[in-house]
Amino acid sequence: MPDWQEFVRRRLYGLALEAGEKDEVHEELAAHLEESYEALQKEGLPEKDATHRTLAQVANWRDLQRKISIARRRGHLMQKRMHQLWIPGFLTLTLSMVFLMWLQKFGSRPRIVWSGSIAILFYVPWLLSLPFFGALGAYLSTRAGGSRGAALFSSAFPVLALTTAFLLMFPIGMIIEWVTGNRVDYVHFSFVATALLKEGIGWLVVPGAALLAGGLLVQLFFSHQSLPQNPVIG
């Protein structure tokens, strides 16, 4: 009887899966071929014909290899992205925003720093908390096997979300103005430029640096611990 395990292993040598998973696929397909072969022999087919008909089940091994890789990796990739990017990122965003709302509710006032005629607002307690939230995002991502990029993305996610919202605010304002026909003064370029500078520093640049500082500290810590990294994501 042919060695089906070895046969499948050779045919699917390029299967793009992790070692353990690849072995499972090899074993499962080999078992299928073995049973097909035995059933054909029981029907009375000679060894050569039984082998030939068993092998006829796969016309193109390379195509099968590609299909199996796609089928098994699709779910993994989505699951990994979820655990390495989106869950840590959204958790960091939610916690940091809830903490900010809590500070505002209990009367914490922003510190105003003047840069020429521009007033920049800073919530100092919030800024001080951000390295911890950033560190938490990076820790969760790294623990799930995320790469350095994925961990830093997770820690800086609140600022990335705010940047997106911030950048969308003005085009949306212009579209509303265009659709309704009402002129909205704050869409003037000078206003937009001032707002970008003022809000950008207070809400994006400094918080982003604080979040990333936490994320980088976690990265530094784990680089000494040498946790497993996954280069697929990030």
């Binding site: 089940q57 796609i70 089928a71």
Partner: protein, 110 residues
Amino acid sequence: MIGSGIKRGTAELAVLSVLQDAPLHGYELARRIEQQTNGALRFTLAALYPMLYRMEQQRWIRGTWETSANGRRRRCYRLTPAGKKKLSPLQREWAELFRALQRLTKVAHA
């Protein structure tokens, strides 16, 4: 010519329907489908496993390794609650399609 969407739909329906009765490993699953459809539906290894893996990723079925009485290790697939949920509307849709086609062909032959 039958489109790939329809082919995939019938294949998934066949697998889910057979697994509804009992958990089975790949070879046995293919054999049951062939037997129960009098040979009208046949799954080769090349067609079966990519589909099983895809359905497993969608969490409609779950595969676990089991050792049989003769000491052979086989990966047995069973229907998950999500798979059961998927099966009922799929059965209804296909029944509706077949009824519609039946009505259509009767009219055509009249």
